[in-house]
């Protein structure tokens, strides 16, 4: 027994919500966070449900996993709505997401996608331009139609992070800065070796996103978490007109308007990789390409100004979340959300926390078990 019931490595959205769940159930919780490159502080606040064309194009091999996870995404947005009621408001708006098509090919792609998604319970439909015009007349002339996914939405991650952090504080969660290089289990005690200190706990939850894979390696798992530096842009405020989350059927774009009136433009354009422990750099090609694409789709934004860009670290693995204890070290539990991880974060955290508390998780965790990454024995 140590004085900490659960150590959480990583203080992003997953780590914070897990801490709130565990501390709320009476556990003593300590978060250890490296304080760098959290996707949670850099993300765009899109609540994704429909399959993102970017992932389908970039990682075709992951499509089956993403498709299987569709119900999880729906439930994840519901978890955000819950969390917003308990700890918000987070500036959360759920008017749906529009994925735009500029060509008949793209429409055909969306039509198929709608079929696959509705089959998994997603509320999606295909709209022609006239139907789109009823709520988005400001789209460029070339848009011929769109997929509307009513489950989607948006929120302001900065607001959510601050409020959740304050909620964790109120529950007595301690947060320390440190970089964990290895986790070992001995005599029923977990030891997390940090750059500054060695931390002890009865159990550990790894919510370290891109940093999760290396921590599991010595326990016989090859989890392919990969840091993916991404580019973002934000404008100065303007009159609120864009209610929906906007994406494109073929090209990398997400666009939304926050409650501040600012328009956030992203969608997975690359940033310069300077290693996991350094903040990525902004590439001019991404800035120009990303913003130009947004202006083509919504010409009226041309007159407002971009005031800031940033680059943040996304985490990808195999297209599905990684949730649950390690097969060979049950005191070590994983919680890595995977693609659109901010959307999935709270639900993944709750599933992992429920496992640790011995409660029924809100959804079955079996399909997401880290066991699928068991390294081939030599």
């Amino acid at each position: 027994m140590t004085s900490t019931d659960v150590l959480i490595v990583g203080g992003g959205i997953v780590g914070l919500v897990a801490a709130i769940e565990l501390a709320g159930a009476g556990m003593k919780v300590k978060i250890i966070d490296a304080g760098i490159n959290a996707g949670s502080t850099a993300n765009a606040g899109s609540l994704h449900v429909q399959m993102q064309s970017r992932f389908m194009r970039l990682y075709p091999g992951q499509v089956p996993n993403i498709e299987a996870s569709l119900p999880l995404y729906r439930a994840a947005v519901e978890a955000w709505v819950d969390l917003d009621a308990a700890h918000g408001p987070f500036d959360l708006v759920r008017k749906g997401g529009l994925m735009l098509a500029e060509s008949p090919d793209q429409m055909a792609f969306l039509e198929q996608k709608v079929q696959r998604e509705t089959a998994r319970g997603v509320r999606a439909e295909l709209l022609d331009r006239a139907a789109v015009d009823r709520f988005a007349p400001w789209l460029g002339q070339q848009i011929i139609g769109a997929e509307l996914c009513l489950d989607e939405g948006k929120l302001n991650p900065l607001v959510a992070n601050v409020r959740l952090r304050a909620a964790a504080d109120r529950l007595g969660v301690r947060i320390e800065r440190d970089w964990i290089s290895a986790i070992t289990v001995e005599g029923g005690i977990v030891e997390a070796r940090g750059r500054n200190f060695t931390h002890h706990g009865d159990r550990v939850l790894i919510a370290a996103a891109w940093g999760a894979g290396p921590l599991a390696r010595s326990h016989g798992l090859d989890i392919p978490t990969r840091a993916e530096p991404l580019h973002m842009n934000i404008t100065e405020p303007c009159q609120t007109r864009i209610q929906h989350l906007i994406q494109h059927a073929e090209r990398s774009l997400t666009l939304k308007q926050l409650g501040t009136g600012q328009i956030v433009i992203g969608g997975g354009w690359p940033a310069e990789d300077r290693g996991e422990r350094t903040v990525p750099g902004v590439l001019y090609g991404s800035l120009l390409g990303n913003v130009a694409l947004a202006a083509q789709l919504i010409p009226s934004i041309g007159g407002i100004r971009i005031i800031r860009t940033w680059a943040g670290m996304n985490t990808t693995a195999d297209g599905a979340s990684i949730i649950g204890p390690l097969p060979r070290a049950g005191r070590i539990v994983m919680a890595v959300p995977g693609d659109a991880g901010y959307t999935l974060g709270p639900l993944v955290a709750r599933m992992a926390a429920a496992e640790m508390l011995g409660r029924d998780p809100p959804r079955d965790t079996a399909p997401f078990s880290p066991g699928r990454f068991a390294a081939q024995s030599p």
Partner: protein, 560 residues
């Protein structure tokens, strides 16, 4: 008003405003007594503050295009100008990218900033045989020290005449000087993206000399964001560039020699200067630095002493050890309150209040390109590390003048001459082997500056605890109380504080609140101030319209 001469006019919220050819919109509006230009999200009025395109508080809507800086936009006949609302409508009519006109430059030496340092660098590099382009943000180059007139007519004084001569010399040397250029992007390998008259300008020079100068450190007291409160440099620009007084009755406060000089200039221009408040004790209480300054540069020291005498002759009260504590609206004027070290208080009613509490280097380009910086605890700002020829840690990137740390105009010019020759020599134009005389001169200028600033309060006050509802972030309207609450939640780093409170997330990109927030975090965590204490540098260097980004992309596509 004379009916015979058809006057140039524009309208502001429907009122007809006359202007003189060359005046900025902000100058013409100030002259007409219109100080409130934009309204914030919280419904507060804001006006011209920095006068140099940094603060973004002078925004107006011009012919339907929102968020134009009145201080950087020339007045033109027939313009329809309106108060900038916080949430302008998205309007396709003003959103199209400019057609054509894009320029692509690849000079041997690109000089960024056309002040004393930049112009001197351009002349030196050109004379050595290099091809040189100078980019300057203002309508007329010359920089802060030589502030050139944007109007027709003879120079105001010798300082302006010297600037005109330097500018002419730079042109004669063969350097191309492009004015009114807004550089918004700087990327590795020396790629600069800029906007010029709405069109894209792309520069891929072989070497670059950054000479972007400094901007002014404000004094954050209740009311410092009211229209009519402006930096001393903004008032000086109004007068020297546009022959516009910031107001009929003014007060000047802060610390440093600029305040006295501008007080005098405004008085000579016909303003009634109610008070010059200087935070530092009078120079005779610091005889040693005064002596050192006199030894290093007798002429400049004499000039400074002369200014004091003239101030007294004009009957302008100069109060030492006196600081501004509060500004409040009083009718259409401002009531400014001051406190002296002896506990006495003083108030005065003015049309405009000017403040300068020191300088912050405009080092965004240098930091973006990764040039190594170190914190100077005496001046309370970063200095760029440079070698004897003023090259930064990035090969081919030079830094001269105040952008590398405060040094004053004579030092900037000297540095410019060294770096200009060195950059040219790097490319095989001339040799830069005999720079000793310049380097010796530079040491003298630096000795003078060091002594000079010992007579003022160059270090930002560490211990000040302003009223909790005093704004620290003008753009996002964040108070000190909110900043402190953010610090309590997570004192880790200024970036964390930014995300928690939104401090520094606005249009000025944290230029005013950033240094304050960085110092608060350092104090809270006990960490030493250093480069990483500040907000991470990010493009765009200044807000840039999406249509300008589109134009830049098209221009780059054409080149590549």
């Amino acid at each position: 008003m004379a009916r015979t001469m058809p006057e140039a006019t524009f309208t502001f919220n429907g009122a007809v405003i006359p202007f003189r050819d060359g005046q900025s919109i902000a100058a013409a509006l100030t002259e007409a007594g219109q100080r409130a230009l934009r309204r914030t999200a919280q419904g507060q009025d804001r006006g011209m503050f920095c006068g140099m395109g940094v603060c973004q508080d002078c925004l107006v809507t011009v012919n339907g295009t929102p968020n134009k800086r009145a201080c950087m936009t020339a007045a033109a006949n027939g313009l329809t100008i309106a108060t900038q609302v916080a949430f302008p409508a998205l309007d396709t009519a003003h959103a199209a990218p400019p057609v054509g006109g894009a320029r692509s430059l690849s000079p041997d030496v690109l000089v960024i900033g056309g002040g004393a340092g930049g112009l001197s660098a351009a002349i030196a590099a050109c004379r050595a045989g290099a091809s040189v382009v100078v980019l300057d943000e203002r309508k007329v180059a010359g920089g802060q020290y030589y502030k050139q007139s944007a109007l027709k007519g003879a120079p105001l004084d010798t300082q302006q005449a010297e600037g005109a001569t330097l500018l002419a010399e730079a042109r004669d040397s063969g350097a191309e000087i492009i004015q009114g250029v807004e550089i918004w992007g700087a990327f590795d390998g020396l790629l600069f993206l800029a906007e010029h008259d709405g069109a894209a300008l792309i520069a891929r020079p072989k070497t670059a000399i950054v000479a972007t100068g400094a901007y002014e450190r404000p004094r954050m007291v209740p009311g410092w964001t009211l229209p009519g409160v402006m930096t001393t440099g903004a008032a000086q620009t109004l007068w020297r560039s546009y022959r516009t007084l910031p107001g009929q009755r003014v007060a000047v406060c802060g610390s440093g020699p600029l305040n006295v000089q501008v007080g005098l200039e405004l008085a000579n221009g016909g303003a009634e200067v109610a008070l010059v408040a200087e935070a530092a004790p009078p120079p005779f209480t610091a005889p040693l630095p005064a002596l050192r300054a006199a030894l290093a540069d007798p002429a400049l020291t004499w000039k400074g002493a002369g200014m004091m005498v003239r101030l007294r002759r004009l009957g302008i009260p100069l109060r030492n050890r006196t600081v501004l504590t509060k500004v409040a609206p009083e009718g259409t004027a401002l009531r400014a309150s001051f406190a002296a070290a002896d506990g006495s208080r003083q108030e005065c009613t003015v049309d405009a209040l000017c403040m300068n509490d020191g300088f912050e280097p405009q080092n965004e380009i240098l930091r973006l390109l990764g040039a190594r910086m170190r914190y100077d605890p005496i001046f309370g700002h970063l200095r760029c590390e440079r070698d004897a020829i003023l090259e930064t840690s990035i090969s081919g990137l030079f830094a001269v003048g105040d952008c590398a740390g405060l040094g004053g105009a004579p030092a900037a010019a000297c540095e410019g001459r060294i770096a200009g020759r060195a950059a040219a020599a790097r490319l095989g134009f001339g040799e830069a082997t005999d720079l000793y005389a310049e380097q010796r001169l530079l040491r003298r200028h630096r000795a003078f500056q060091a002594a000079l600033w010992r007579m003022y309060r160059s270090t930002p006050e560490a211990g000040i605890e302003p009223d909790s509802d005093t704004l620290v972030c003008r753009c996002e309207e964040i108070t000190f109380a909110q900043l402190r609450a953010g610090l309590e939640l997570d004192p880790g780093h200024v970036g964390t504080l930014k995300r928690a409170t939104r401090v520094g997330m606005g249009r000025c990109q944290g230029r005013y609140c950033g240094p304050v927030a960085a110092r608060l975090v350092a104090r809270e965590t006990g960490a030493e101030m250093q480069d990483l204490s500040y907000f991470a540098p990010r493009v765009p260097i200044k807000p840039v319209s999406i249509s300008a980004i589109l134009a830049a992309r098209e221009a780059l596509d054409d080149i590549d």
